[in-house]
Symmetry: C2
Subunit: 259 residues, 2 copies
């Protein structure tokens, strides 16, 4: 079972088969992917409708995934639909990027969020009810400090193609400054070899919302002469506010909400 889940997640998330990854496999929630589960009827609340509401920013300010949707969200995240949904977004982003004539002054940047955009914390959330459990900063930060988050393969693929088009990449994350080193190492290990800037949330933004923090940092980028041609995140707070970029792309994430 553990081997099956490891192989599945290895395939799904492109986890490299280094021996240090084995520790991940033993922690995986025993929810097995069931093809076609995403979209099934759930009595009462339609979890598919709830998920659509989340993705479209109609359902906002929620704290945890509705209990009756744990299995639905788990199957969605571990199954094919999450990956297909991510692929459509990444493909649209690539088509858009390819349609642009870059300024060739090396100031065109693409902003990526990190968690659930560049890197996946699915190995963590699979152990914590896929968002049904309330966010536990102690446990989550412990997971982050392990530096073992795999890449979201669709984003990594897009990242590589953007680089080949001459676009520079900026990572803009809500992770705190003290996680800079582990985050940089994790990004490299996951395949993100280079970037123009890696922006983490400094203590001056303590208590500020993600929208305020990220808008402010994007404004600094613009003031420095960068042109944000694209901006991709799994939270609407990555994509709303000011200086959002020429076009924004919403990656799926039905597990948590950040305002």
């Amino acid at each position: 079972m553990a081997l099956f889940l490891f192989l599945f997640l290895a395939t799904t998330l492109g986890i490299s088969q280094g021996s240090d990854q084995d520790t991940v496999t033993h922690k995986i929630h025993l929810l097995r992917p069931q093809s076609g589960a995403a979209g099934n009827h759930v009595p009462g609340l339609s979890c598919l409708s709830w998920r659509l509401g989340v993705e479209t920013n109609n359902v906002v300010g929620w704290i945890t995934v509705p209990e009756e949707c744990e299995e639905y969200v788990g199957h969605y995240m571990l199954g094919h639909q999450y990956r297909k949904d991510s692929r459509v977004v990444a493909n649209q982003a690539l088509l858009y990027a390819q349609s642009l004539s870059l300024a060739r002054d090396c100031k065109d940047v693409w902003v990526f969020d990190i968690d659930e955009t560049a890197l996946s914390n699915l190995p963590y959330y699979a152990q914590h009810g896929f968002g049904v459990e309330q966010y536990n900063p102690t446990l989550f930060n412990k997971w982050v400090m392990e530096g073992k988050a795999p890449a979201l393969p669709e984003t990594l693929n897009l990242y590589k193609k953007l680089l080949s088009l001459g676009t520079k990449v900026v990572f803009l994350t809500g992770r705190p400054e003290y996680q800079r080193s582990v985050t940089a190492n994790n990004l490299r290990k996951a395949g993100y070899q280079t970037w123009e800037k890696l922006i983490l949330k400094g203590s001056s933004y303590s208590g500020k919302s993600a929208v305020v923090y990220k808008s402010s940092e994007r404004k600094k980028l613009a003031m420095s002469g960068y042109k944000i041609i694209g901006n991709m995140g799994d939270q609407w707070s990555d994509l709303l506010g000011t200086d959002v970029g020429n076009r924004t792309f919403k990656m799926p994430d039905p597990m948590y909400y950040i305002s």
Copy 2:
């Protein structure tokens, strides 16, 4: 069969059983609702992922529904999922409206788009491939001029509750001025009995995008002292731009795209 489809659509869309509605039934596309079809696997393109991409504004500027998704979109629109998705949006909107303390100066307004938001053109689109066929203004305007579009029941329900909360309603539609009378009559017939303003697209906006036209008209509302507390539409062009309102709500529509 025709009777079955009539009864189904009558139930689904709340078509009143007046005899003048019988003409609608004979025109319905022979695609019968199949429970659970929405979300099924489609080889190659995932139509569910495509639909999510549309709803999240990741897939933009498309002209027609991909051919391989005609059946998927048809089943979605005629089946339960479209209605459930709409219900989640309307419920969130109502919860939000109920949470507000209205200014009680009668200047709080809620902006509704009309087509696929207040009224449903499903009887028309069911005959035209659910968005697979390219938009035909002659045929579509002929349908509009019949004034027989049923209400989208979730929106009508929200509308009634907003009125009872003391909110005034503004309809802001891309329909042209010459359709004012038929549109007003259609709205009343469908159950929308009253409104503060019914704004149609005047000739001065000819050639202007929906975002420009609707932003400009919303600005006029704001300049007149109205406060847009909510704004609901099926197109992102209803909800983006300026003066969008305190909160926006995206109704589902995988059948067409308006920029």
